[in-house]
Symmetry: D2
Amino acid sequence: MIDVGIVGGSGYTGGELLRLLANHPDVKVVAVTSRKLSGKSVASAHPHLKGLYSLKFEASTAKEVAEACDIVFTAVPHGSAMDWVPDLLDAGSRVIDLSSDYRLPVDVFEKTYGTKHRAPRDAVFGLTELHPEVAKAKLVGNPGCYPTGATLAVAPLAKAGLVDRVVFDSKSGISGAGAEPTETSHYPNMAENVIPYKLTTHRHVPEIKQELTRLSPTIRVSFTPHVVPAVRGILTTAHVFFRPDALGTLQDRAKIAEIYSSFYRNAPFVRMAEGMPRLNAVRGSNFCDIGFEAERESDRLVVISAIDNLVKGASGQAIQNMNLMAGLDERTGLWFAGMAP
Amino acid sequence: MIDVGIVGGSGYTGGELLRLLANHPDVKVVAVTSRKLSGKSVASAHPHLKGLYSLKFEASTAKEVAEACDIVFTAVPHGSAMDWVPDLLDAGSRVIDLSSDYRLPVDVFEKTYGTKHRAPRDAVFGLTELHPEVAKAKLVGNPGCYPTGATLAVAPLAKAGLVDRVVFDSKSGISGAGAEPTETSHYPNMAENVIPYKLTTHRHVPEIKQELTRLSPTIRVSFTPHVVPAVRGILTTAHVFFRPDALGTLQDRAKIAEIYSSFYRNAPFVRMAEGMPRLNAVRGSNFCDIGFEAERESDRLVVISAIDNLVKGASGQAIQNMNLMAGLDERTGLWFAGMAP
Amino acid sequence: MIDVGIVGGSGYTGGELLRLLANHPDVKVVAVTSRKLSGKSVASAHPHLKGLYSLKFEASTAKEVAEACDIVFTAVPHGSAMDWVPDLLDAGSRVIDLSSDYRLPVDVFEKTYGTKHRAPRDAVFGLTELHPEVAKAKLVGNPGCYPTGATLAVAPLAKAGLVDRVVFDSKSGISGAGAEPTETSHYPNMAENVIPYKLTTHRHVPEIKQELTRLSPTIRVSFTPHVVPAVRGILTTAHVFFRPDALGTLQDRAKIAEIYSSFYRNAPFVRMAEGMPRLNAVRGSNFCDIGFEAERESDRLVVISAIDNLVKGASGQAIQNMNLMAGLDERTGLWFAGMAP
Amino acid sequence: MIDVGIVGGSGYTGGELLRLLANHPDVKVVAVTSRKLSGKSVASAHPHLKGLYSLKFEASTAKEVAEACDIVFTAVPHGSAMDWVPDLLDAGSRVIDLSSDYRLPVDVFEKTYGTKHRAPRDAVFGLTELHPEVAKAKLVGNPGCYPTGATLAVAPLAKAGLVDRVVFDSKSGISGAGAEPTETSHYPNMAENVIPYKLTTHRHVPEIKQELTRLSPTIRVSFTPHVVPAVRGILTTAHVFFRPDALGTLQDRAKIAEIYSSFYRNAPFVRMAEGMPRLNAVRGSNFCDIGFEAERESDRLVVISAIDNLVKGASGQAIQNMNLMAGLDERTGLWFAGMAP
């Protein structure tokens, strides 16, 4: 049994870790922290979990959490994780950080987030399908939700050297913005609406570039996000422009299918969709569904990926990383279908 | 041309007054106040109004607004209107107050809202169909959204002396809670959800009782509200229990239809629906649609009413009152269909 | 290992059985039928299940299914189940029927559905919390979705002899109407709308009356359903009118709480909610959440129940029944939280 | 007074014409046809219009309609309009066709729709802002919804010779698919979902290409549509790649703003948004809102346009064309705000 702790359990990713871990056969959640809810039951913040946990939120220190746990998930906001992670590591825990604090090289982090990094540490980027080295990591920087969907959509093509450039146009559910009410998340503003934002400057761009240029150094990457009236899910439309010398491959559907299935042959959570990927085929699950179509007489391949932003885009992938770190099959506790309809 | 002012123009009812008045042939909006947005364009708070107004929000006093206007709408929060209304009246304006400050007798108001009334004045309850005396009023207390839908649904039966008791079960869109983001209005909380609240103690109950007991002194009234995933609209299900001596009428569909059409023969905005009333037949409009069905071998008649809470339940009805106060046909500027689909 | 079959696997309840059973530790789904999809993969109708089943839909006879299975779920439409159930039973299977064919006495069924019953059999009404005798049943008539939420909300009060009358006002997600597109389920008709229907004559009324009068012979029952813009879930508002001699109990919150907790002390899936029940605390799960509030100076108690119509209101409850029939803990394979947000 | 007829009044564009024309000061709708609803009231198909029309649907011939009308709108499906238009024209009516039958040259139409054109006629493409010659047209081919939003977003840049290539990624409400229930429009399939479709082959591509290459012969155009959970609206994200010699202009925000305001100086319905365009600022109105942002150190400009697909994307634009054909101010009857929230 792996003793697990969650630092920051009151938000959406904390709640989702609790939901998923409740049915993990090899895990026991022994500590969940929340300063503001200290002493209250888990169900007070997460009514859907009533009856599944007798745990209460606690206001423990990193050292106390680390001493009780083999592996700790940090699910606190960006900029706060760096106040927890070093102490957790020093006290002997392995850590999976769901914030953005350990995903990027320090200089890129500081430029992107406009803040000094107070506690850099070596970390593995936890996009599980691309980084088997998470198995040995002490610290995993769990990827952002957009980078997960975007990178998985295009990685096989990038690796194959086919891509000149890619423009990602992503459509996200609003839960990605967190549990705190905002102007954007106000129901009358979000319902029956589509809200484009940070059209060219979203903070997730460096993660996507980092992963794709690792596979294809010359690839050019652009990214534009939108929020749509959905709670969960990110559907990413990747407009992929092939290199002039790869146009023959572009129109060869079987060849492209083969590139994907070969690249993901050991990745059980990546599914090539029979029709087109849709959010409601992955909702609540750790799957990433992918589909594609080539434009005739063009250099453009359209690739679609669909994930649940709170599962494969956050807490599910974090558990997938934990499984590998603990030497378990990566599907353990995650091998269930999403909810449809 | 009637010169009109709006006190508190940044919220939903203020925005809706502006939307509707932009096409009123006999009205000119000459002033709209907002302390926090003073100096900014109307479109800054209401992007949908861009191009239709050159007005800016101003931080004027009641006296200044009154001097510029024939009629003033007060669309400020409950408890704030009483700081504006007396000065507006004293400076010669007629006033239509969209808050709850002038809908109830002072003692009932104070008990219901748990606060002292600082400036009581004589007012007419502006449920237009039931109060033709608004035509001569200096001050109109525009009804709450729930009381409008509930009262119109049952008034004809109450007047006819048929009703022993009524239980209103209302389903409202979330815009009734206003433009400020809250826990309840947070999209992930509201989407795909139904939220019952204040099951037996909603503040609108005294308005409904006041209106129905005026028509039928012995009627017993209960009310339970819910929020549903919709921006606009209130669908009210009235479970009406007939008096023992009225059970013959209960099963006489033609007779009941006649009671309604007779009661509302001069009320152009009340429509007897051909099928069952639905929110999307009244959305954006000033109509109230009504339908009913009797339960066999029972004393229960189910009456359904549908309104747009921001129009017939607030700003539209306020303009309807204004039309009567100004001697205009009550349909002026309001005689258009809702938006469907 | 229990070998299980599903007759009619292409609809929502069939898909939900497959989703839930995929993670049941003691069950193997060995057959799933669909005449129109015979030969196609389960994922062709249910993309979310891709990777979890290698099964194909088959066009087998009842005899063939029964021979392969210990327990069979029939998830075919009302009126069709009676063509399967007798043969399944005769061939030795135990059967849980999710249609309405085996929930009511024959005479009540025929009057309610306006059709002759071609194959009556003895069956137990599978509202698990009220019918422990399902454990020994050969045939279980799994309850309708509305009756499940309504009956569980009021059963303890009825049993305690407190109730004169109850009016159920239910708000359902549209998935209850099935997987076939209709006028009502057309997104532009359903979004931002509330649709009342069959105000006094819904076919589920006899099931509710049957269960509640079993507990309290004199109770009077009315029921009015609505569809709201949600996929899953039924929130039922029970307006409960207490008997004159029970008004003291009505205002005693602790006493009523005790009545519920005592009645449901062995019912793990019924939870007394800390706040008010909401659809999003039970979505995707087998829980039924219940809350209540008494109206002051009145005879009315408002009780709210929330279930997922496809889980506790259909497929989850069917599996709960199966667990009891198989001598398993009723929570087996069902003890997980719903999905929130 | 202009006597107007609507051929095919039972669908969404027919209903929207009726809604909008009800408040047009210079128009009288004298005929509305529907074979299947002949003899029924307009409100039978469009409950929101109850009380606004005493018209009944009729099953008249083209000749009969033309004799009663000055201008006729044909709102029948693609492929059916060509059975009406010639007869209407021959009988002396001017015609605005909302189908796709008269938007493209015959050869392009036949290739795109895979069907022979039975009755080609000269027509003006009714994208009002780009085709002032509609004023004199006998027959106007009213543009598709996607082409309206896409073309207006990029036309000024194309005209200025700045654009090498553009990739349109559009997000549409489901009402664009019409009033008939389908698999896609089924609420449980559409809610909380995003559905990409016809990723590279949508039939509206030739319209967009036709309009943009008219302004810039060498421009390359790609288009990918999605349906999002909204009833109305199309938000188009145009990923515009500038020509190498235009990169200086790309980073000059004021210059680009000037190009737009100059191009649309006589186009009252095109608004440059203060923030980013959103569907809920144009819902129900004839406005097209536009905004843009340049990517740093790149050749990409992101342009966003938002329209209501049933108004500016269909019936509103049709009336705008009618106004010009009749010598009226193009705003007549259309100068109102959308509905927000």
